[in-house]
Symmetry: C2
Subunit: 128 residues, 2 copies
């Protein structure tokens, strides 16, 4: 495990961007960051685990919402500084706004237009 | 144009990661960085233009190889700090190694294994 982690080119903060892509549709769901421990935990637990830069700790995607991302495949790019995951997005909602994907705004005629529906209310997702 | 560029959350270096995805297959081809001028030029010219951190200048993808990426669609994520492009990869080769995608190594049994063929020799792509 340490060998494959050593082959990653971590940035000056010890992080790499990680892309989550829905394995059967190809939809890009989100991008977040991983540190060494996050990537190791992702592999060991078979689910996407990121590093939250704002909370400064591991972020097991779905720990609050239940919208976990089961890992199907893991790749790195030619520079070894970006991770690409094929995942199965449980609940079909990757975005904290309640949408399928975080990439819900499209450039159209000089504006960013929202083009993906809210599937579930945020208050409902993160109810205590 | 300035309005939509102002809505991007550029990092401390003035950059955001940009993902290029083949529009008709969903294959994630590569990730590189854009500064403000790169994104503006991408929109204006309808082709992927990145910012090369090593060369410290705009990088019109395909300027040497001819493997340009025609822009089909442009999105940003919920945090406004990642760009996702649907592109048409001319020549079918996004990676400088001569492969279709830069994400050609897959995690398998504790190793990163190469799983995408080299379609064209590097020396052939970048011949002077």
């Amino acid at each position: 495990m340490q060998t494959i982690l050593n082959q990653i080119k971590w940035n000056e903060a010890g992080l790499v961007p990680a892309i989550a892509q829905q394995h059967d549709t190809g939809k890009v769901l989100m991008v977040a960051w991983m540190n060494r421990q996050a990537l190791q935990t992702t592999i060991e637990e078979g689910r996407a685990v990121y590093y939250s830069r704002s909370r400064k700790k591991l972020w097991r995607k779905g720990e609050q919402s239940g919208h976990i991302q089961k890992l199907k495949e893991l790749r790195i790019d030619c520079d070894s500084d970006v991770v690409l995951m094929q995942v199965d997005q449980i609940g079909g909602i990757a975005c904290h706004t309640g949408r399928h994907t975080c990439f819900y705004r499209r450039y159209e005629n000089g504006r960013w237009n929202e083009v993906e529906p809210v599937l579930k209310d945020q208050a409902e997702i993160y109810k205590t």
